[in-house]
Symmetry: C2
Subunit: 337 residues, 2 copies
């Protein structure tokens, strides 16, 4: 497509390109009448300064990139909306990229954003990313970066995360208080820090009540993953009395298979999910789940990033831990006892 350029405007008005440029850059060394004439003419001609050329010379874009591992769950979209609200307000445009849980795509996404000279990046990692090297390099090159939700350790970078340990602890404790002694934790991908934190919370809750540690099984975050896990347990005849799942979707998939097999929830098996989605309160039976402050996570990450961009050099990375809430519903309430 064709762009009207600064030259077109200049030649139409018989003035130099620098004058036109000045009119658009709010410098004061230009006569007001000239300025308004230029602006008017440019408007008529449909001229808009080309930000590509501008980027090239200014080395900044007023664009921010957001990279998420997936957005089939409502979790990331909600975070993005929070971030977007802050960034738009500050005059930034937001470019979103999703990595489909693939490390290769994630790296490509980041490169694309770097190539497009975004001023900063908000990122949540795919589960395939386990080592620091790539991002250490990026940070070293001076790209303002904030990790959220799925983060790495050992990097000098800001992070916004959820207190996975604490809420896994509470979720487990809730099941224990309901009288359960045979709880299985369906974890997320083992590489994720949040998985490790949730496992720790799960174990410590057992310790507090002096119960033998519950079993852990690794599982993905999708509904299909949950369905498969349930089927496996049923087939092996090792379905526990209670399940604490690291994701709502896998919990709901799990429930689905149980229901199809005539197993009652919570009477036969109680279930607690994590990372509340809109699904939780609408499935049957309604699912007990840990609610995370998604919108706030996006806002916080965005604010941190902007602060960093505005204070390059003297900015000290921080880690902000957000709080949550356990929504108790029928899927875990011991109606029998």
């Amino acid at each position: 497509m064709k762009h009207v350029t600064i030259k077109d405007v200049a030649s139409k008005l018989n003035c130099s390109v620098s004058t036109v440029s000045r009119a658009f850059n709010d410098k004061y060394d230009i006569r007001p009448e000239t300025r308004s004439l230029i602006l008017k003419t440019a408007e008529e001609m449909g001229y808009r300064p080309n930000p590509i050329a501008r980027k090239l010379i200014k080395q900044r874009s007023l664009n921010i990139g957001i990279v998420v591992p997936e957005f089939v769950n409502s979790f990331f979209p909600e975070v993005i909306i929070g971030a977007q609200d802050v960034l738009h307000e500050k005059g930034y445009q937001v470019l979103i990229m999703q990595s489909n849980e693939s490390k290769d795509i994630e790296y490509k996404n980041v490169e694309t954003l770097v190539d497009n000279m975004v001023d900063g990046i908000l990122i949540s990692l795919t589960s395939e990313v386990t080592d620091n090297e790539y991002y250490a390099k990026l940070i070293n090159r001076g790209m303002p970066l904030v990790f959220f939700n799925r983060v790495l350790e050992g990097l000098n970078v800001s992070r916004v995360l959820f207190d996975d340990y604490k809420w896994a602890f509470f979720a487990t404790e809730h099941l224990i208080v309901q009288g359960h002694r045979n709880i299985v934790h369906i974890t997320g991908p083992e590489e994720l820090l949040l998985t490790k934190e949730r496992i720790k919370g799960f174990d410590d809750a057992h310790k507090k009540y002096k119960i033998a540690p519950g079993k852990k099984v690794t599982c993905g975050f999708t509904m299909k993953d949950g369905e498969g896990m349930a089927q496996k347990m049923i087939d092996n005849d090792e379905l526990p009395k209670a399940i604490f799942s690291a994701s709502d979707l896998s919990a709901i998939g799990f429930m689905k298979t149980l229901k199809n097999n005539g197993i009652r929830i919570p009477e036969d098996t109680a279930i607690v999910g994590f990372s509340e989605s809109r699904l939780a309160e609408n499935v049957y039976p309604p699912l007990t789940s840990v609610k995370q402050p998604t919108y706030e996570m996006g806002r916080t990450a965005a604010e941190l990033l902007i602060e960093q961009i505005q204070n390059t050099g003297k900015f000290v990375p921080q880690t902000i831990v957000l709080n949550g809430k356990l929504n108790i519903r029928e899927s875990s309430v011991n109606v029998g006892a």
Copy 2:
């Protein structure tokens, strides 16, 4: 952040920038050894051609923009994944923007993409966009464009949409066949073409069975919208025997209020949704809904766009209508009769 440039590489190797450039552009007028030496050195130095500069000179970016009105529903994310699969394969990077159902943000998003010199745009409109003017201009300027799902009429542009008329007809017919004669259609925002099509389908199904036309009430696409609508009907004592809702979310919100008021589904009021979300089969009772081919919609739109980009000028815009499926579940099956 600092970029290694072509000059750095050239001076390191004591050659000219054009030689380096050539090495990266796979032209054959370069000695293989020179080429591989340059590539190797560049790699070591961390040089990557700056696509901003490249865009400026080539006037193309290998980037495609996708603009969606929202992505809280899983509908648009699924479409995006379909489009992304095609585009990645063709070597394009995908920039996603969401408009939050606001016309202003939508236009800004489009401008940002144009400014970033994307090679084409896939777009689904916010409900606030009702006139052609803005997009007519964009098309006129030569930006390759494909509308999907939420489209405009009267523009010379490719469109991928769903046969809303047909499936609204079938959904309604299903309720009629179940014996219902008092069906209310909860529509989407009136401005949307798809809303009009669904209303037409709803009415024509009534005609076919020679039943007096059912009532229509306008409503948003969110769960809250559905909840409010149900409450209003209950308060006014005008709850019908059957509901055909233009969105799963509003249908589910509707169900929620009904359940809270002790109204049985489908015995007291039967419900059919539209645009199947993952929720449909997991809520209680499971919701009858029209399933749309989201992933395929994304693929098709992307393919159309690429075709258009590759044949600028001689490309003839097409409208592709995709098929769907009615998933019949408990929420609408007449158990009483």
